[in-house]
Amino acid sequence: MNGDSRTVIRSVLREHARLPVDVDTLGDDADLFAAGMTSHASVNLMLALEDAFDVEFPDRMLTRGVFDSVSSIAAAIDELSGDGEPSTAGGAG
């Protein structure tokens, strides 16, 4: 995951995470939920990330832990758009 994607992630966060603080004051590893992101906002964040990166998060990735920091989101996007395409969406079943 290059710095560019993190920039995109941050801009999606700015628009959809409804954080009470400026996202740029948070480090890549800062806990977004502790910073005030609600679970409702996190769903909108996931939808917006799917759109921005043209990916689909499989059910196994739809957990709080995957979306709780810029780094963990970047790792998930990385896995989905990387060359080693993971198994099909819906892998939690």
Binding site: P20, F33, A34, A35, G36, M37, T38, S39, H40, V43, M46, L47, E50, E56, F57, P58, D59, R60, L62, T63, R64, G65, A89, G90, A92, G93
Partner: protein, 390 residues
């Protein structure tokens, strides 16, 4: 609902006997006077059932979730209040046991719970959060001497005055966001409950769940170490929905049995005569069968996910799954009770007959409000936009 281990089978038998002999006899009085089912709780204490879910390594029975669920069902058939108190207590015990991460204070606490058969109530609801358990206003506040304190306005604390200990959701610190939570266990003597109202309700009257202002002071080791999001998604929420549903299934099953007994008595009096209400009862049975199927499938699904990979319980698919159990069970249980009432008619509407099902219906109606269904639908509505499997 299979119960494989011998000690588990003995426990279910014991609890069933307590349900039949003690809880059933007091159920009407408990309901009428909105009083705590003390005799049934004493009997459960005497049988060591309050520590059923404490792991064997810490002195308890290490009973399986199936066994605990079966006990909730058996109690639910005889006294909803006893069953709900038992279920809520077991949810707290299971939550602590599953997330104590080897913390010495909590291990010692569970040993003590087993030896003294202590009863835990939970203080999760809070005035001002709109029923959203994943947000808190009250905060764990450092007291300078290494201790923590809190003051929480709780709109309902089930059996608050009858519990030994309290498990309370709080913000981690006075500066923390509403969603940055912890769970603290405080013991009697560390907490005071100032009553804020009375518990005079349509049903579930014996759970004695009025509001309180809860104030407590406690040591920092009394905060459960595991991350709250894990505790909530892997245990508190799914286990609540599973054990509550078993209670509601028990209530609905007894309402159905009462209606069947009523019809059977009518048929015996006039053999061969048409009995139109029997067809109605058949519809009720079909709905009860669906309810039973969903309750037992959800228990199975929890077990599979938990055994294979506990993190699967963190997914949105899993949140939807156990929300759907709660929605289905809380809609169908009162519907079965209302159907049973129609079958029995005025004899069932009266409160003083062996076929009375009014208490069942009133108790089962609480199911939709214990975490309001509309709140769950709102959550599910958001999640289903992103989750890939239903």
């Amino acid at each position: 609902m299979s119960v494989p281990v011998d000690s588990d089978r003995v426990l279910v038998e014991t609890v069933r006997r307590i349900a039949d002999d003690v809880a059933a006899a007091a159920a009407d009085d408990v309901d009428r006077n909105a009083r705590f089912p003390s005799e049934a709780l004493e009997a459960l204490r005497g049988a060591g059932a309050l520590s059923a879910a404490v792991p064997a390594a810490l002195g308890g029975d290490g009973a399986s979730l199936e066994t605990v669920a079966r006990c909730c069902f058996e109690l639910g058939r005889r006294c909803s209040a006893t069953a709900m108190v038992f279920a809520m207590h077991q949810i707290q015990v299971l939550t602590i046991a599953r997330h104590l991460d080897g913390a010495p204070w909590f291990e010692a606490y569970l040993r003590e719970l087993h030896e003294e058969q202590r009863l835990i109530a939970s203080v999760t609801s809070e005035v001002g959060t709109g029923g959203d358990m994943s947000r808190s206003i009250a905060a764990a506040t450092p007291e300078g001497d290494g201790e923590l304190s809190f003051e929480k306005q709780a709109p309902t604390v089930s059996y608050g005055l009858h519990a030994d200990d309290l498990l309370t959701t709080l913000r981690r610190t006075p500066d923390a966001e509403a969603g940055d939570q912890i769970l603290a266990l405080t013991k009697s003597g560390q907490a005071e409950l100032e009553p804020a109202g009375v518990w005079d309700t349509l049903g579930m009257r014996g759970t004695c769940s009025p509001g309180f202002v809860v104030r407590a002071r406690f040591a920092s080791e009394q905060v459960l170490p595991a991350p709250f999001a894990e505790v909530m998604n892997q245990s508190m929420v799914p286990l609540s929905h599973i054990l509550w549903s078993h209670v509601w299934l028990g209530i609905a099953s007894d309402a159905f049995e009462r209606a069947r007994a009523f019809l059977r008595a009518s048929a015996r009096r006039r053999p061969g005569e048409p009995l139109p209400a029997a067809a109605r009862l058949s519809h009720v049975m079909a709905e009860l069968t669906l309810l039973r199927g969903e309750v037992s499938q959800a228990l199975h699904d929890f077990h599979t996910d938990d055994a294979d990979d506990r993190s699967r319980l963190m997914t949105m698919a899993s949140v939807l799954r156990f929300n759907n159990l709660k929605l289905a069970a809380s809609e169908h249980a009162p519907s079965v009770c209302a159907g049973a009432l129609e079958v029995v008619g005025i004899v069932g509407y009266r409160n003083d007959t062996p076929h009375s099902v009014g208490r069942h219906l009133r108790d089962a109606l609480s199911a939709r409000l214990m975490v309001a269904n509309e709140r769950l639908h709102a959550t599910d509505a958001a999640l289903l936009l992103i989750a890939k499997e239903p």
